[in-house]
């Protein structure tokens, strides 16, 4: 596979991003590891190349562009701002017990676009931009909306602690559903016997007592009604062409009034896409799409995948990540939405023209 060929396609995409008003930026390849590790945890350590610098400490070969671009914007940018970039990212491919005959690339190009704006049109602008660039490839576009799911979770008749636990684990489907099961039953009494061991470690006795008190208070909580769980599961399972999904969501909003606002925001976004000439029937809406993406996508999410190539990663992915800017901004948050395209995969599909 020719590197100049991929580069040329990357440049083509970059030109389209520039034409959409973006300023090109070039974040470092070697990034301080601490921020990325704190954000993504061990998942990123498993995927990224981490190495040691005698002065700077742990550093990481750029596993994605979003974090350095957000940091750069928060230091000296003003909204609205549009940035684009083209460069390599590095990801270890640890395949488990068996090594595949053709290992996936551990170094590949990403061309990206990030938009920082308080404008309601931002979601549609980014999605339509990607849709337009990738149109010649006839990819399958899928869209999700984490806002909807989170609003539905917030609407459950639960204590604040239980609600926070569910929201925290919304990106981990197994743990989330175990929590739902637990909250659906009367909590079994637990006895916390003093093990007679001396206290050791940094976690304090007060921290443990606080959790035990929470578990005991939790026993007084009424179980989650079965119909609440069923409604939530129906929402999470919505998966259809966008117009049909919207109709289903509007119907669900009749039963979960707290998602009505999010459903209407989605409806407005979709009509903006239609106004930009996109045939909504070709977009698949999958309510749970964002649960399988990066933890910090917390609004619209999207991906463009190659039909018939389930073994390929998506050609493009993106979404809204306000939560990420909130974490990186130390209290300051900026609405942000963006995405990346993999020029290497575009090249394998024969290019954009």
């Amino acid at each position: 596979m020719s590197k100049p060929g991929k580069q040329a396609i990357g440049q083509q995409i970059l030109a389209a991003f520039r034409a959409a008003g973006a300023v090109e930026v070039a974040p470092d390849i070697l990034l301080p590891a601490e921020t990325l590790l704190d954000l993504y945890g061990e998942d990123i350590r498993a995927r990224a190349y981490v190495t040691q610098d005698p002065i700077r400490g742990e550093v990481m070969l750029r596993p994605d562009f979003t974090v350095p671009v957000v940091q750069m914007h928060m230091e000296n940018g003003a909204e609205p701002a549009r940035y684009c970039y083209l460069g390599e990212v590095f990801r270890k491919q640890d395949h488990g017990d068996t090594q595949p005959a053709q290992p996936r690339d551990n170094e590949y190009l990403q061309a990206g676009f990030e938009l920082f704006a308080r404008d309601a049109d931002a979601d549609a602008e980014v999605f339509a931009l990607f849709h337009g660039i990738l149109a010649p490839l006839r990819l399958q576009a899928t869209m999700g909306d984490m806002d909807l799911l989170m609003d539905a979770v917030r609407a459950l008749p639960l204590s604040g602690a239980r609600r926070a636990a569910l929201l925290h684990h919304i990106w981990r489907p197994g743990r989330f559903s175990r929590l739902l099961d637990r909250f659906s039953a009367v909590a079994a009494p637990r006895i916390f016997e003093d093990p007679g061991a001396p206290w050791t470690g940094l976690r304090s006795p007060d921290e443990m007592q606080a959790r035990i008190a929470r578990l005991q208070a939790d026993r007084a909580e009424p179980p989650l009604p079965a119909e609440s769980v069923a409604r939530l599961q129906r929402l999470f399972a919505v998966q259809a062409p966008a117009p049909q999904a919207l109709a289903e969501l509007r119907q669900l909003a009749g039963e979960i009034p707290d998602i009505a606002d999010a459903v209407e925001r989605l409806a407005a976004s979709l009509s903006r896409l239609a106004a930009r000439g996109i045939d909504l029937a070709t977009i698949r809406f999958d309510a749970s799409h964002g649960r399988h993406t990066m933890e910090y996508y917390d609004g619209m999410t999207f991906s463009f995948a190659t039909p018939g190539r389930a073994d390929w990663p998506p050609v493009a992915t993106g979404g809204r990540y306000d939560a990420l800017t909130a974490v990186l901004g130390q209290g300051r948050s900026i609405p942000a939405v963006g995405g990346v395209i993999r020029p290497g995969l575009v090249h394998e599909l024969g290019g954009l023209s």
Binding site: L37, D38, D43, H168, P173, R175
Partner: protein, 225 residues
């Protein structure tokens, strides 16, 4: 000539020698105790290579030895895609040890992985950094916690005296190999989760890269395998 890799010292070496002796092949160190050369009696065309147990996975993968004795834990930790590089010839029935996750015994609210996940989340909120697990088995522990969908933790490297890291406050929990659990108890730690991360024992592995399969099979047959 088949090259057979065996741990170069300690109980693992002695038990390996006993295991082969019980199958009619006598292995011994050549010359003095300090020399890492070996002798083989009872089989033709076999050379004994004495190696540190931790290096045997790498040598098997590279095909520099045809057969090697080492723990399942070391193979799985050190060889990504291990099934593509080695084949288990025979479990040897010694060197039993479990890779486990242990927390302070004083944590009476921590009985299983669900408790652990919640404690990790609380800890991160209270202390501003992820709960630290000291280990040298990074890949195995991370894969296991990822399968259990535990977030809010980080691994810190510990190549020795891992049980001491909790008292020293350089980690909140540990993941390590244990056989009797005595060291854990002495350091006021307890094992959580009913099933260990991995049950390990010494296994005779065959290198897929070394080739000479016919000769290796003949030797295995000589051992009654």
């Amino acid at each position: 000539m088949i090259r057979l890799g065996v741990p170069s010292k300690g109980r693992l070496m002695e038990q390996s020698f006993d295991w082969f002796a019980a199958r009619g092949v006598t292995l011994s160190r050549a010359g003095s105790d300090r020399e890492y050369a070996g002798r083989v009696e009872g089989a033709e065309n076999v050379a004994l290579v004495l190696l540190s147990a931790g290096e045997i996975p790498r040598e098997l993968r590279a095909g520099r030895i045809h057969l090697g004795v080492t723990g399942i834990d070391l193979i799985r930790e050190k060889l990504a895609g291990w099934r593509s590089h080695v084949e288990e010839v025979a479990p040897m029935g010694f060197g039993h040890a479990d890779l486990i996750l242990a927390v302070p015994a004083c944590w009476s609210d921590c009985e299983d992985l669900d408790d652990f996940a919640t404690i990790a989340r609380d800890f991160r909120a209270a202390h501003g950094f992820r709960l630290r697990i000291a280990t040298k088995y990074h890949r195995l522990v991370r894969a296991w916690l990822s399968a259990g969908e535990v977030a809010d933790y980080q691994l810190v490297d510990s190549q020795g005296a891992t049980e001491g890291t909790v008292a020293n406050q350089t980690a909140e929990a540990i993941a390590d190999i244990t056989s009797s659990g005595a060291t854990l108890r002495a350091n006021h730690l307890k094992v959580i989760a009913a099933e260990p991360i991995l049950r390990s024992q010494a296994v005779l592995f065959r290198s897929l890269a070394a080739g000479d399969e016919g000769e290796v099979r003949a030797f295995a047959a000589r051992l009654g395998l």
